[in-house]
Symmetry: C2
Subunit: 514 residues, 2 copies
């Protein structure tokens, strides 16, 4: 790699784009003009335009004593000892930190090195006299050694080694992801998304892209963001909104492609200023045809989440990166506990009905005769956290909530448990410790008459929903699906307390920094 890179520099003196290649493809002979004047290809044996190797790759490259090495990255820390200085370099592509040793006194002052600068260092690998591995030396008095400051920092560069509160970092939206912890949370987010892609591919799901701009507020799910054009008035010839959930569109696609999933930004214009809410968030949604028991969906979610934790634990680099990025032992212990919670035994996570959940809360949580919950009461976040975190100490599925609490499209509970006095729907929430609701899903009504009954009962706009209703007249199939707030999942699995640290540029009421 280094050799290639060196070569790249050596080609610099040739005018870019004017080199005459030594191979001209016969393809270009069709024209009568002298193609060689025009054609410039990046022939591999002439120049190499690969990317600068990441520090992670350099660490893995196993250099040999005396071999030259080039590093590009940011200075993370500087330390001066009696006869040498140490500079830690990182490049953010991984949690890898390379320790560069500058022999001699006061090197850091001599070369004006400071935390935060971006630098390019030419040095060499050396056997370490103390450690069982190679280290990197840079002695700019030597011929091929050098350190260049590529990007300077101001005197009060705020990202220093000493621990900085996440709250303070949120005031630095362009710098905060350079810290070890926040960088690692974004790397974890990326890892989890990749793991989900693998899972859904294995399970024959098609990834689809339902629309973000939507023509109707079908669910009546609270306040919305509307969309207009700065140019043409009434751009779409109707009122348009940002999607709150892509479910209704996913149902269309599930009827065509059977198993579909998506990862899509969704929007809620609610005035919720909490550590668990974002105005713009990413939602994983999946919809499956030929499903007629809600427990097929809970099993799917169970397997999906466990496969992520399995991937995280079995990926050697990833799990060791997590360890090195959360140096606080308590945090790492918490993360491991959370991962263990998701792995929890070979059997499936417990599944209880809403009615049972109420009974447990009344019998156990409220055994002290504080006011019992009546059937129909809403389970709030505190109940949810208690059930998963305190009572079951594991994620728990709660199924079959009262119909009146839920949207129009949910199918009635299975006949075995349906009680006309206390009507319920075949839905579920997945509650997890410390967070509460992570996933919500249900069977959808696939019968035309049953759906129309709900729409009429709730006095909804039939015309606006006609496209959705029409699915029930055209080869309808039993189906269901779920939605998972992606940032909540990232939050849980990366031991993060505030959802704003799981997304690079959080949008919340009053906050749309840069």
């Amino acid at each position: 790699m280094l050799r290639a890179r060196a070569l790249r520099f050596s080609t610099r003196s040739r005018p870019c784009g004017l080199r005459i290649p030594n191979i001209i493809s016969p393809l270009w002979k069709h024209s009568n003009i002298d193609n060689s004047r025009y054609i410039s290809t990046t022939i591999n044996d002439v120049a190499d335009f690969s990317l600068t190797p990441t520090l992670g790759k350099i660490v893995d490259s196993n250099g040999v004593h005396g071999e030259p090495v080039k590093l590009s990255g940011h200075i993370r820390t500087c330390r001066t000892m009696k006869k040498m200085s140490f500079v830690d370099i990182s490049d953010g592509a991984s949690s890898a930190v390379l320790n560069v040793i500058f022999p001699g006194e006061d090197s850091i002052a001599n070369y004006n090195l400071k935390v935060g600068q971006s630098v390019e260092i030419y040095g060499e690998w050396r056997d370490s006299p103390v450690k069982q591995r190679l280290e990197i030396h840079c002695d700019p008095s030597q011929a091929n050694h050098s350190v260049s400051i590529i990007g300077q920092v101001p005197d009060r560069y705020p990202i220093q080694k000493k621990a900085t509160s996440l709250e303070f970092l949120r005031t630095l939206p362009t710098l905060r992801h350079r810290t070890r912890t926040l960088g690692q949370i974004l790397r974890a987010r990326s890892f989890i998304e990749g793991s989900l892609m693998d899972y859904f591919r294995r399970e024959d799901f098609i990834k689809v892209s339902p629309p973000i701009i939507s023509g109707s507020d079908c669910e009546g799910a609270g306040e919305l963001f509307y969309v207009g054009s700065t140019g043409k008035k009434n751009f779409f010839k109707k009122s348009t909104y940002l999607t709150v959930s892509t479910q209704l569109h996913l149902e269309v696609l599930s009827a065509a492609l059977n198993r579909v999933w998506t990862m899509t930004p969704c929007f809620r214009a609610e005035n919720s200023d909490t550590t668990r809410h974002l105005s713009e968030f990413w939602m994983l949604e999946a919809e499956v045809a030929y499903v007629d028991d809600v427990r097929q969906l809970t099993t799917l979610c169970d397997n999906m989440l466990k496969s992520i934790v399995q991937d995280m634990k079995s990926h050697k680099t990833f799990s060791s990166e997590m360890e090195s990025s959360f140096p606080n032992e308590d945090t790492m212990a918490k993360i491991k506990e959370r991962w263990a919670t998701f792995e929890n035994s070979n059997s499936s996570w417990p599944t209880i009905t809403y009615s049972m959940a109420l009974e447990i809360i009344n019998d156990v949580q409220r055994a002290d005769n504080s006011k019992k919950l009546e059937w129909g009461a809403t389970l709030n976040t505190e109940h949810e956290k208690w059930l998963a975190g305190e009572y079951f100490k594991t994620p728990v599925f709660v199924t079959d909530y009262p119909s009146f609490q839920k949207p129009f499209y949910m199918r009635k509970s299975n006949p075995e448990i349906y009680d006309p006095e206390k009507p319920t729907v075949a839905c579920f929430d997945l509650l997890i410790p410390e967070v509460g609701e992570l996933i919500g899903g249900s069977l959808r009504i696939h019968d035309y008459d049953e759906l129309m009954e709900q729409i009429e009962e709730r006095k909804m706009d039939k015309k606006a929903l006609e496209w959705y209703i029409s699915l029930r007249r055209n080869g309808t199939v039993p189906h269901g699906g779920f939605g998972l707030g992606f940032e909540r999942l990232v939050m849980y699995l990366s031991g993060t307390e505030n959802i704003r640290d799981t997304i690079p540029f959080p949008r919340t009421p009053g906050h749309c920094q840069c």
Copy 2:
């Protein structure tokens, strides 16, 4: 699988959620109440809640003569022969079509079967007397055979076997993806997205989620969509818009994480009603630190696109699905030609400068003395298609366009080719045959003074851009990146003529169906 499914039905008589499991985890013993009343787990040896197998999996399952089989899917075609009928079933998860044979006369009429219905069929595998493989028989007069219509269709169900124009299908937004061709285009889209995920993971890129709602129109890139809340006035305490490109935010993340990529919806409120434009589209964008030659970026794009075609060709199921979904030989020949164009030899695709492109157009395309292009002329789509499709007959990178044609953030061309009389920037477009521009990218100005000069020259709003400018004061590094219109890529690789067929619910001026 079938056995498991049968078991599932046999558990139906037990009340859902009230079964007492045969294993009670000691975890739940902490409470004094009788947990066994509450805890219901889906113990694997009691019931199986896996999903209904897809038809693709059933085809692969290699049934044995006489073995029972259950299918769920839509009827694609019905044919009546003298002594038997044939019904083709598909479920959309793949292009797999299962042919079910109903012995006896007039079965189709007797069971009221029609194209489009969703059905559940119990039958059995039989050795085919004519073909070298098993076939499925269903004879509802036999004990364990049955056919049930789950979802009926109206008399004039519009999705029939006979070829239907894509234009007509666009008027059926909820049904069109059930057709073989449009279903396969969405499956191809999903495949390509997965392939990109694999590529970027191999290259150590972090997938990030830059914001959709943005506080500024930094690029001045034409008309925008603005965003407001139906509830709280001035929700974000500033004017907000839907993003037109996530690049500026990606630069922040690249400075922190080195190599980043995203696949994000982007929005343009332009009144472009063409086969190549969408008001809402998905953009793949990547940004890389420590890059100082535009050819590092072209090499990256070259490798990325070739890896997709390699994945498509080497994935046996995918390539055979493409074959069976585009029965029109011309279409499939075109698709194969396009794939071959992307594979085209071991060497990199040609790279020419804008100035060379002009010369070629003037010398060759306009050799008949039609008006020559002056330096500074815009290359339009026709020029782009001609260069890639007619002249080079391969994708071609055109680099170093005139500065005044390009946005403020692009870095000057390398000194070797920079001409102060004809100032250019270190950018590139990837032009591909038949489509024209697929990718646009550049090096970004990383020097503070240089950036401020551009911003002042163009009279841009310094205050709104302060967050972006500040990167150049905080350990700036040379970097660059690119954006690719994802639907254009899908269009090209799936042989599609109209971009509206590559996204499930296209948004274009005046069109926001369902």
